[in-house]
Each structure stands twice: as structure tokens, then as C-alpha cells.
């Protein structure tokens, strides 16, 4: 079970960064984005709120207790405006798996000495 069940990651071409509204995503600026090893891709993350079915709300006047109904349409809320349905969107497990590939992460051993010292 992910610690971020409602969080989604959208992988976008680096060329699309200028079209990201950073008020709609967790990242603050292009400088805080993480890029693929070759620098051609990056991702943004945000929280979604899924309404599976139309929600019929019953409102009440607390003083008269009179009821009024209204409806919240089914849908997924919270996606940024750059989301268009064609860019790949990932959940937490999926993005971790993607980021573990060499496309996104250089082999760690390159940064470490060949053998630990005693």
C-alpha cells in the first residue's frame, strides 16, 4: 500500500516544462524538477480526487432544517491543466519502478569506490 494513494506523476517532455502551471503541481519551479539521465524528460506530481459516481448532496438550513439537493458530477479532480490524457500518468509504485530504470537513474556503483575500506 502506497503512502501516496491519491498522488499521480505525469511524465512530460522537457520541452513542455514551460507550459506547466506550477500552482497546480507539487513542484515549485523548473529548477526543482528531476530529469531523465539524457535530460529529455521530466515529471510533475499532483493529488487527484476521484468521484466515482455523481454525488447528490443534500443540504440543510441548520436553523429551519429545510433540505435542498445538488449534485457533484463523477470525475477525477485535481489534475493540472497540462494533463491531456495522452501523456503517461503513473501511481507511486509505477513511478518508482520507472525511476529505477537506467533511463532515469545512472548505476549507483559509478559513484562508489570499487570496494569498501575496512
Amino acid at each position: 500500500m502506497s503512502n501516496f494513494p491519491n498522488r499521480r506523476w505525469l511524465v512530460i517532455p522537457a520541452t513542455e516544462v514551460e507550459n506547466v502551471d506550477f500552482n497546480q503541481v507539487h513542484e515549485n519551479s523548473p529548477e526543482t524538477l528531476r530529469y531523465s539521465v539524457d535530460g529529455t524528460k521530466t515529471f510533475i506530481k499532483y493529488e487527484i480526487n476521484v468521484v466515482e459516481e455523481d454525488i447528490v448532496m443534500t443540504t440543510v438550513n441548520p436553523e429551519t432544517m429545510e433540505e435542498v439537493t445538488s449534485t457533484i458530477p463523477a470525475g477525477t479532480y485535481g489534475r493540472p491543466s497540462i494533463y491531456n490524457g495522452t501523456l503517461p500518468e503513473y501511481n507511486h509504485e509505477e513511478i518508482l519502478a520507472l525511476l529505477a530504470t537506467e533511463e532515469w537513474t545512472a548505476p549507483m556503483d559509478e559513484n562508489f569506490p570499487s570496494a569498501p575500506q575496512s
Binding site: K45, Y77, M108, P113
Partner: protein, 646 residues
């Protein structure tokens, strides 16, 4: 610098940077947010606020600011509501909402009687303008308890943009309830409360986590937060990190970095702190590597990796060129590195290296940086600050799985009761042995005996690793035992306990030996070292606190103390198999007795020892020297035990 309780038990000398997410008054304030609540004049419930609650809708009841009832951990007071006439009692607050945006509203509530029923409603329009209210169920339920709990509700606003209000309700005649900390945020989860004061109030990304030393600015604008009651900082493993000031650490000096972490499963080697590759320092935790990397000279553990998803304290130190890595105060690796950590422009981060890879996933509850290398005792003192708070697994020696790395470790984590403990020195298997805490030191028993039972000077037990009665931990039953500690515990100091003697000092060796076994396996027959014990300190027994005054006159004026003598070497001539002793406390110079020839066991001298020459070496008081015998000493059969400080 904050109040005296900010640091608890951690060492503060040389502390240059510190945050603690459990320290909500002085360090952790929470995620950057804006509390959008209007009616803010009614939000300020801080001490000293005296404004009347005019403007709140006090429908059939009373409402007061209650000084005594505060949300635990907060200074804000609460609003006390008393419901009458078995009807609704309410007050409301509001804010401006935008169509399509996600909001979270939160507050704390409690009731005088458990099970009290309250409710929470989202209004459709301006309060007082005839709008209806949607009855919603805040997360956590609406049944109030007698303890404050926080109610949260997140939704996406699908109605027209504009001002909306919220109301809380209490039902049932005579019910009393308290509410506090109203917050409305344009977020998908609640953050820690920030009080409003006349207008929507903002907490920036550099105001959410404060350096307890007051020296540095921390930016938490690029990290995640849990959606639970703790609203903790967490790293999702994709692009989260905490920004630290450039040049937080510089130069080639000594340092310590100490962190409390809880790593997620599957992390290979996440960066918990560092500057790499902006600078050469990187501390990491994961399934492949745990430890410190410093300019290609490292102190890290690669196999086997003691990875755990439990909360642990990791510590790295540099003292001179010696680097060390500890987990929960246990030294796991030693290395060497003299490189400079960086310069004033070196970028530092927590949770990621400075190029954005090697991401850490999980929690990093606290971090401390010192400009010196903490001692092991200080490191374990820091551990005590967090062990109970985070239910950390501390090796208290109670089971083989919790075998302590040393008796001193037990002492450092606050254990002071003598007894039998499980120990496991680095690289060794776990074993049990008596441990005692005496003279401000922690000591491990390596062998014991009594009632005439012990180890002859030439017993093979002295020079092999064979155990004897290793599960007999009773020190006063007269039975001889030799424990695993004899073979595997390194030491510099040892202590000799015999009968009623109560030496007030340990006996120091000039250099550390890898074990008592190694010490006893030395080459003998070194006649040149007569009367000069290889391991010992030449003290005058008459000055030794705890000496047995009955024998001072017997031992004469040339008494000196040999902490530990070696076979054959405490005696003039050092003849093969003829003299010397294993462990002695209180010896007599050969010359003083006029004996300068090679002697047999029965005619060589030391006193108060085991495995010594002269008389019956199995007896507690053993002495004997050329024609000198003292029945009061020779005839003793006291219990004895030998301990090493470890």
C-alpha cells in the same frame, strides 16, 4: 537558540545545525500553507486574546473562550460551547472558494461526555444570506471523545466561486463541547495548524522547519507530508528533498552528522544527507549501501547490509582522518578520509544528492550536525533522546537478537543493573556473560571460580578457546567458569574481584589486547623482563584503595601491584615452567625476599591472584616465595572473578 527543553538529552557542544520534527514548538511547524479562514478575529485564540466572541452565532447556548482547555501541544485556547434545549448549537467560519479547486478544512473538537455527537457542515452561500448547508462527515468520525481530536474534510469545490461558510454543531441538551484550531486550505490534505490573525495567514516553505541552533534556513518546499494525524515530513522517493544552506559543512575538520530515519522498503541507497557531487560528502541508507562516502574514502557497509525499515539512528563521524559509521550507537564501519567536505558554495541536501538522483524514500525525523566527532557515549546519549519516541529497537542485551555490542553500550543506554546479558562484539557471534557496572565503568566477566576451584597456571584453558560451564552465571557458587568473553572481548582495563576485597580501581594495560586469550598466549620465558609484567601497572599495593590491610605487613615494604602478570615473567630468572603467574594483584619483588634463582610453583611469589605461582594456585589467596608462606593467605578459598572493561 530555543528553550532549554529543545534539545532534551542530545549533546549540544559543537552543534551547528539541528532540526527535530518532533519538536513542534521550536523546530517543526509544518508544510507551507495558507489558512484561508476569514472571521479571523475569532480565530486568534492565543493566550492574551480577550476579544469577545461577537459575531458568532450562538443559537440556543453559550460560547466562551476557554483558557484551561487547549489542544495538546498548542498554546491556543478553545471555544467552549454549552448546548441547551436539546437543539442545535453552532458557530461558523468561512473563506473564499474557487470552482474546481480542492480544499481541506480542519479543526479540533472534544466533548465533556464520550460519544457526544457533533457535526460539521459546508455552506452553499453566504452565511446569513439564506444558504443551505451540506452535512459532511469529517475524517475520523463525528462522535466526539473526551480528548481533542482533529477533524478533517477534503473536497473539490464544484460550485460557483465565492464566499462559503462552515458550521460546527453540537446536539443533545446539556452537552458541552470544545473546538479549536479552525483551518481552511487550498490543499488536498490538512497541514499543521497556523493561527489566523485578522486575515488569511501564510506559512512559507522556509518557516516550516526551523534550525534549532538558529543559524540556518531550511527549505521544505520540495518534500512531501503524510496525510495522517502527524502531518510528518516524508520523502516519496521520486523528487523530494530538503534544501540546506550552501556551505553548511566545510573544510577538513572533524564533524558528526546524526540522523533519525525510517527508510521505506526497496530503497537501494537513498541519500539522507550530503553534498555529492557538489561536494564529496554523501550519507546514504538502503539495501545496497549504508554509511558515508567521502571523496572516495568511505565508511560504509556493503555486505551484509544491516538494512531495516524500522526507525534507526545513523551517525557518521570524522576525527582527524578516521571516519566511522554507527547505527543505533553501534559502530559498524571504520574508514579513513582527509578530504575537504566542501567550500562556502557547496550545495547540501537531505533526501537527494545534488543532481537529483539517489533519492531517499521514507522519513528523516531529525538531523544534527556537529563541528566535532562525538564520542560513542555521546552518540548513545543522542539515541536515548529518540529511542522511546520512535519505538526504536535498542540492543539492551535481553535476548540473543538484542545482544549489545558491548557492556559499555548497555551502560550508555542507561542500564545500571548488574546481571547476565547477551553481548555481541563486532564480527562475533552472540553470547551471554555476567556484566557489572562498577567504578563508573561497564565490565564483562571472562572467568570465575571459588572454593578452591579455578585454573592452574599451566591449565590449557588459559591458552585455548574452550569454554567451561559457560552457562553458569552464579558468581558465588564456588564453581569455575570460562565464558566466550574470554576469547573475543578486546580490552585495556580489567578488574579482579576476590572475596571481600573491593578494589576501587581497574588495572590498566599499556595497550589494548584483542582478548584475554590473546594476552595469555604470549611468548613466555622472557628472563629480561623479570619483575616487569608485560601487562600491568607498577603501583604500590599499599596505596591501592580497597587493599586488604590484613596482609600489608606480611607482604612487606617492597610490594608493588601488577595488574596482570604473565606466565613466568613476573619472576626473577623466568625459568621455564618454574615461576610467574597469570593474573595477580599484589606481588612481591623477588629481590626483596632474597630469592634470585629459578623457582618452582611452590616457591615463587605473588599474592591475591588466580593461576599464580606459589602454594595452591586454585585458592583465592595465593602467595609463596622462597621459604615465605602465610597460611592466612594461602588457605583462603574465596570466590573470585576476572572482568574486563568493554
Amino acid at each position: 537558540m530555543s528553550g532549554k527543553n529543545s534539545f532534551g538529552q542530545i549533546s549540544t557542544s559543537g552543534l551547528t545545525f539541528a532540526y527535530d520534527t518532533g519538536e513542534i514548538f521550536n523546530s517543526y511547524k509544518g508544510e507551507a500553507t495558507t489558512n484561508m479562514v476569514l472571521y479571523s478575529e475569532y480565530q486568534n485564540l492565543a493566550d492574551g486574546y480577550t476579544e469577545a466572541l461577537s459575531g458568532w452565532d450562538t443559537h440556543e447556548g453559550t460560547m466562551l473562550i476557554d483558557v484551561a482547555n487547549k489542544v495538546p501541544g498548542f498554546t491556543n485556547r478553545s471555544i467552549k460551547m454549552s448546548c441547551v434545549n436539546a437543539n442545535v448549537y453552532k458557530f461558523h467560519f468561512g473563506g473564499t472558494l474557487t470552482n474546481g479547486q480542492t480544499y481541506t478544512v480542519s479543526f479540533w473538537g472534544k466533548a465533556q461526555v464520550a460519544g457526544g455527537y457533533g457535526n460539521f457542515m459546508l455552506g452553499e452561500g453566504m452565511w446569513g444570506n439564506g444558504g443551505g448547508y451540506l452535512v459532511i462527515e469529517p475524517a475520523g468520525g463525528t462522535n466526539l471523545t473526551t480528548e481533542f481530536k482533529r477533524f478533517k474534510y477534503t473536497w473539490t469545490h464544484t460550485l460557483a466561486s465565492g464566499y462559503y461558510s462552515f458550521a460546527t454543531y453540537l446536539y443533545e441538551n446539556g452537552q458541552v463541547g470544545w473546538l479549536s484550531g479552525f483551518q481552511l486550505e487550498n490543499k488536498s490534505q490538512a497541514t499543521r495548524y497556523i493561527a489566523c490573525n485578522g486575515a488569511p495567514t501564510t506559512r512559507t516553505s522556509t518557516q516550516g522547519l526551523l534550525d534549532l541552533t538558529g543559524n540556518n534556513e531550511i527549505n521544505i518546499g520540495n518534500v512531501s507530508f503524510t496525510n495522517d494525524s502527524s502531518e510528518e515530513i516524508t520523502f516519496d522517493g521520486t523528487d523530494d528533498y530538503i534544501s540546506l544552506p550552501n556551505g553548511l559543512m566545510q573544510g577538513t575538520g572533524n564533524f558528526t552528522v546524526n540522523q533519525i530515519i525510517k527508510c521505506d522498503a526497496g530503497v537501494v541507497g537513498g541519500t539522507t544527507f550530503g553534498s555529492y557531487p557538489s561536494g564529496p560528502l554523501q550519507i546514504f541508507y538502503g539495501t545496497t549501501y549504508i554509511g558515508m562516502w567521502l571523496d572516495n574514502s568511505s565508511a560504509y557497509v556493503a555486505s551484509p547490509v544491516p538494512f531495516t525499515t524500522n526507525t534507526v539512528m545513523i551517525t557518521v563521524t570524522r576525527n582527524g582522518s578516521v571516519t566511522k559509521f554507527y547505527q543505533n550507537g553501534e559502530l559498524l564501519k571504520t574508514g579513513s578520509a582527509s578530504a575537504s567536505v566542501g567550500s562556502s558554495g557547496t550545495l547540501f541536501r537531505i533526501g537527494s544528492n545534488t543532481v537529483g538522483t539517489e533519492r531517499y524514500a521514507g522519513k528523516i525525523y531529525a538531523t544534527q550536525v556537529y563541528n566535532r566527532a562525538l564520542s560513542e557515549t555521546e552518540i548513545r546519549k543522542n539515541l536515548l533522546q529518540y529511542a522511546d519516541r520512535y519505538t526504536m529497537t535498542v540492543k539492551d542485551g535481553s535476548t540473543s537478537a538484542l545482544a549489545a555490542p558491548s557492556a559499555t553500550y548497555l551502560k550508555d543506554i542507561g542500564i545500571s543493573k548488574d546481571g547476565n546479558y547477551w553481548l555481541q562484539p563486532t564480527g562475533q557471534s552472540a553470547f551471554q556473560a555476567p556484566v557489572k557496572f562498577y567504578l563508573g565503568k561497564a565490565m564483562v566477566c571472562v572467568m570465575k571460580g571459588g572454593s578452591g576451584n579455578g585454573f592452574l597456571p599451566d591449565s590449557a584453558y588459559w591458552e585455548n578457546s574452550t569454554l567451561l560451564n559457560e552457562y553458569d552465571f552464579t558468581l558465588t557458587n564456588g564453581a569455575a567458569s570460562k565464558y566466550q568473553s574470554y576469547s573475543v572481548v578486546p580490552f585495556t582495563e580489567f578488574y579482579f574481584q576476590m572475596g571481600l576485597l573491593d578494589y576501587q580501581t581497574t588495572f590498566s594495560l599499556s595497550t589494548e589486547v584483542s582478548s584475554m586469550l590473546a594476552a595469555q598466549q604470549r611468548s613466555w620465558n622472557d628472563g629480561a623482563n623479570r619483575s616487569i609484567p608485560h601487562y600491568g601497572n607498577s603501583l604500590d599495593y599499599r596505596t591501592l584503595e580497597g587493599r586488604d590491610r590484613r596482609y600489608l605487613s606480611i607482604l612487606g615494604t617492597e610490594i608493588y601491584l601488577m595488574g596482570m602478570d604473565l606466565k613466568h615473567e613476573g619472576h626473577y630468572g623466568g625459568g621455564s615452567g618454574s615461576s610467574g603467574g597469570r593474573i595477580r594483584v599484589g606481588s612481591i619483588l623477588d629481590e626483596n625476599t632474597g630469592n634470585t634463582g629459578a623457582l618452582s610453583y611452590g616457591a615463587a611469589g605473588s599474592a591475591f591472584g588466580i593461576g599464580v605461582n606459589g602454594g595452591n594456585p586454585l585458592k583465592s589467596g595465593v602467595c609463596g616465595y622462597g621459604g615465605w608462606t602465610e597460611s592466612d593467605i594461602i588457605g583462603k578459598n574465596d570466590d573470585w572473578s576476572v572482568w574486563v572493561v568493554f
